[in-house]
């Protein structure tokens, strides 16, 4: 059994078999991560470049740890300290890096489709670490993997994604991944932050948080992406009003009369979309998501690297 794709650009084209394969390998990498020696030598002759044209802490660290724990050589690049500031194009920057014999590129970019564009123009394996408002496939995978770990299965579970759906690549990757694994997905947020026609993806839409929480087994709380919202025309009157209507508090959780699993892809804006009490509470699997992120990225890279044939 092997992955149906050479690159990992999005969840949308993946099959359920691909996702199950990644999960089965992530299970074994979780075991590796709990050993005294958390490193295996499988990728010792592979070089990975992490190209981050957008800021990131968690994803970048998680990818770098995953690569290093697979034994790969790693080079890091961030746009803020590079020649991109001097006017270099994406393809020139990447070609220069690839000329240094890099086998795999992990890229985050503000433009949707940047990873697809790159994969069509290079021989290296491309892994999308978030392209604008399009997809963030490894986040989608690790979220579904964390639900599977917590609840035993994804199939048949009801998951609500709450917040800024319009600007969220995490939401799109989650929708595709969860649906392929047989979960029911609902999105919840103010009308202005839910894309028009999102029902065509087969998701339910709800604008009342209380009703959404009563429906779900899992609530994935997203951050308001102020950096992606056009300046000048606000999407909602104020953050305070947003918190009143869509913020997840302990009181709201207590009112449900049932336990639900709380997730957040980070970074958290405490007191806005989620209260500290909920984020740090017993039902929260936020830190499990971070731990699983390394295992999922190790599994994805391990499987993708097998498409890079060794030349003797």
């Amino acid at each position: 059994m092997k992955l149906s794709t050479k690159h990992l650009i999005a969840i949308e084209p993946l099959t359920k078999t691909d996702i199950d394969l990644i999960f089965s390998q992530a299970d074994e990498f979780k075991e590796v991560l709990n050993r005294p020696i958390k490193k295996v030598p499988s990728l010792r002759d592979i070089t990975v470049a992490n190209l981050f044209f957008e800021n990131s802490t968690r994803t970048r660290l998680s990818f770098e740890l995953a690569e290093k724990r697979l034994g790969a050589d790693v080079v890091n690049f961030s746009a803020s300290t590079s020649s991109v500031k001097k006017g270099e194009t994406l393809i020139d920057t990447v070609n220069n890096i690839l000329a240094m014999k890099v086998d795999m590129v992990v890229m985050r970019h503000a433009s949707p489709g940047a990873c697809q564009f790159l994969s069509e123009r290079t021989n290296a394996v491309v892994v999308n670490a978030g392209d604008g408002t399009h997809e963030h496939p490894t986040q989608g995978l690790l979220d579904a993997f964390s639900i599977r770990e917590k609840l035993g299965a994804v199939k048949g579970k009801k998951v609500v994604i709450v917040g800024d759906i319009t600007h969220s690549r995490v939401a799109l990757s989650n929708i595709y991944c969860l649906q392929k694994l047989g979960a029911e997905v609902m999105v919840c947020g103010p009308t202005t932050l839910i894309p028009k026609h999102i029902e065509s993806l087969g998701v339910k839409v709800e604008h009342n948080l209380q009703r959404a929480l009563e429906w779900c087994d899992v609530a994935n709380m997203l951050r308001i992406q102020l950096e992606r919202q056009d300046a000048g025309i606000p999407y909602f009157p104020s953050l305070r009003e947003y918190t009143e209507l869509f913020g997840l508090t302990q009181d709201r959780l207590n009112s449900l009369g049932k336990e639900i699993v709380i997730m957040h892809p980070g970074p958290i804006n405490r007191g806005v979309e989620i209260s500290s009490e909920v984020a740090d509470g017993n039902n929260s699997i936020i830190l499990n998501q971070v731990e699983n992120g390394v295992a999922i990225r190790m599994a994805s890279i391990f499987l993708l690297a097998q498409g890079i044939k060794r030349v003797s």
């Binding site: 092997k2 992955l3 074994e28 499988s42 097998q306 890079i308 044939k309 060794r310």
Partner: protein
């Protein structure tokens, strides 16, 4: 269609396993500082069979399962990807006498990878190798078994496979497959 020939039937295999167990008891006494390590995928069935045999005579023995996949030297060479199987190591091997167990010894490369995987769990005092079938021809690395169930002369186009009751077979037996 591969031609199947039964090499060892259930009765004979049983006798071989009993003999191997007696040899282990002779060398390891009460097993207090011994641990059996089955190599994924097929060495695990064999190890479980040995643990079961020991249980019959009241011997309790520590065991673990190591998957050699991450340490293999043929990563990115075949079209079929290498996929990891479960590792289950509840005990450290630090200072222990390890008996590494696999069903068939052929090129020796799986055993080499398995030994590298094993060392992630500590520095054993000693490592021995127990195999059910030793295919004498075809070794590619200098590895030999300490305990051998049966030596088999075979050609490269032949495969030797051990079939276990625990994987749904009627009885434990060993077959030759001529490609």
């Amino acid at each position: 269609m591969a031609k199947k020939i039964t090499l060892i039937n259930g009765g004979l295999l049983n006798m071989i396993i009993q003999r191997l167990c007696r040899q282990l008891i002779e060398n390891h006494k009460d097993f207090s500082s011994t641990i059996l390590i089955g190599l994924q995928p097929r060495g695990v069935f064999f190890m479980e069979r040995i643990v079961e045999e020991f249980a019959k005579s009241g011997h309790v023995v520590k065991w673990g399962i190591v998957d050699p996949t991450f340490y293999r030297d043929d990563f990115r060479i075949h079209d079929k990807p290498l996929l990891a199987k479960s590792t289950d190591m509840k005990h450290s091997v630090e200072g222990m006498n390890v008996v590494l167990i696999d069903d068939v010894l052929y090129t020796g490369r799986t055993i080499r990878a398995g030994m590298e995987g094993l060392m992630e769990y500590g520095r054993p005092k000693s490592v021995e190798l127990l195999v059910l079938i030793d295919r004498k021809k075809g070794r590619e690395v200098p590895i030999e078994a300490t305990y051998v169930g049966k030596e088999v002369e075979s050609f490269d186009n032949q495969r030797v496979r051990v079939m276990w009751k625990s994987e749904g077979e009627k009885e434990d037996h060993v077959i030759f497959l001529n490609d």
